[in-house]
């Protein structure tokens, strides 16, 4: 039995189907990325796992507790850390009193360790916090009671790149110590850097469930080249070129093939500039997981 076990989970709000017959399992000690565009149903899934929303049909269990069983889930929450996507605090209290409050409610075994790692100005009122400081305060409260399962909704938003790296390192250490991490994001690069396995959700349905390596292989890279002479599509007689677009001497396409072959064919041109980047998430969906945005 997984740490998170989702079986046939659906949630509708009136006529709107937010998540539709989800099935997946998250194993102990893995970092599971829950990837999807905004509005795909990530937050609805998370809120159902925590018992904020009750499932319309199907169910899920979290650390062995059925999410429909309020009492069992309440006990399980002692061992769950949660970072909401839209963090909000009482503005008139200091960071320290917020953490004392949270500590009284769920424990603070690792508070000192966490405040060393993430260091918002604890004696200042939260009203004066930057978004990065708010996010750090949120991360501290997520881990302060030494949870076995951590659920994070878009955890790196607002963090500067340095702190993002601190977070990623910390998450990897936690995973090695046996903590399970469920991590939602709409940014592929973020999931690529942090996660072991990825579930992709789109329009409320799980469209793929695989390890990060194979996702990236399928996803390919977005290549943008600026050449002296316009590049002709026929010249790029390569496997794995899609989404070919060209404006004058600037060409861009998504490439999923062999990089050596790509460089060999480009060597016939004089390059002015070249960029290779993560493909946009929507593109992965369009080409590899079921067609158009309908």
């Amino acid at each position: 039995m997984g740490v998170i076990d989702v079986t046939g989970l659906s949630k509708t709000f009136g006529e709107t189907v937010a998540v539709d017959d989800l099935n997946f399992e998250v194993e102990r000690g893995e970092i599971f990325g829950y990837l999807g565009p905004n509005g795909a149903g990530k937050t609805t899934t998370i809120r159902t796992l925590l018992g904020f929303l009750s499932p319309t049909s199907g169910t899920a269990s979290v650390l062995g507790a059925d999410v429909r069983d309020a009492k069992a889930l309440r006990e399980a929450r002692r061992r769950i850390g949660y970072l909401p996507g839209e963090l909000s605090f009482s503005e008139s209290v200091t960071g320290r009193s917020f953490l004392e409050y949270q500590g009284d409610l769920k424990g603070a075994a690792r508070l000192d360790e966490m405040t060393d790692l993430f260091d918002p100005p604890l004696d200042r009122k939260i009203r004066g916090y930057s978004s990065g400081n708010r996010q750090m305060l949120g991360l501290i409260q997520t881990f302060m009671h030494d949870p076995d399962l951590v659920i994070m909704d878009e955890p790196t938003s607002g963090l500067d790149p340095l702190k993002q790296e601190v977070l990623n390192d910390f998450l990897r250490e936690e995973r090695s110590a046996g903590t399970t991490i469920f991590f939602s994001s709409h940014v592929l690069g973020e999931v690529r850097r942090a996660c072991d396995r990825v579930g992709i959700i789109r329009d409320g349905a799980l469209v793929a469930l695989e390890d990060v390596e194979s996702l990236l292989r399928k996803g390919g890279k977005r290549v943008r080249v600026h050449t002296d002479e316009p590049l002709r599509e026929d010249d790029l007689d390569l496997e794995g070129v899609v989404e070919f677009e060209q404006v004058g001497t600037v060409t861009s396409f998504t490439f999923t093939g062999d990089y050596n072959e790509l460089l060999a064919s480009l060597s016939a041109y004089s390059l002015v500039d070249m960029e290779i980047d993560e493909p946009p998430l929507e593109e992965i969906f369009m080409h590899y997981y079921g067609g158009n945005n309908d």
């Binding site: 929303l53 929450r77 909000s88 409610l105």
Partner: protein, 262 residues
Amino acid sequence: MLTVMKYEARQRIRGTLTLLVVVSFYLFLLVYMFPSIEASGDAIQQYAESLPDAFQSAFAIDSITTIGGFLAAEVYQFIWVLMLGLYVTYLGGGAVADDIESGRIDTLLATPISRVRIVVEKYLAMCVPILAINLLMPVVVLLAVLSIGESLPVLDVVMLHVLSVPYLLVAAGIGLLLSVFFDRADIPQRVGLGVLFGLFTLDTVTQGTDIEWIGAVSPTRYYDPAAIIVDSEYDIAGGLILVAAALGLLIASAEWFRRRDV
């Protein structure tokens, strides 16, 4: 225990103190006006008696030339029953909905605390301003009255405040019940103000009419400051009815919040 209550109550301290200062200031201002009202005696009394019955009972102005009657009319019927009632209803209206609207509720719901306890403790936190102001105001009132050379029976003043607590608890309960139904704070707050003002009006306009019984749904029916301070009549049964109503509102709020999606 009572972690949520303490955290929330601490954030209400400043508001409570402000309220206390404002009400005390208003009270002193009016009390210092009293000697001139008393001096004009009959004229004012005649004016009061010439007003429509409903108006007389709404603001309890029938014995306005005694210090007790004056306070009942100018301070208690208006400030305590109406304004303070509206204020705590408004507080209640924000108690849960404001946390849901801002998203603050998420970090609380994620802890091992039951939803019922959240609602109960939030309600208890609202009792802090209610109790504090009713503990301190009797002292302020007696001091103000003494300072103009008048006097009032201490027991009447104390009972005036003791019996106002159940009334204000009901007002807060009305706000709380509305608060657990909505995701936006301004809706229960506005609806709450409307409901309490509506009940106050219903009680007032039906008094002395054939349909007086309709006004019995209003909490204002069970707390009559003028009867306490002018006639030393304490409506203990009314107070108990209000306590039961407050409890009912709290239970209904907790039960609804337990079931709803957040």
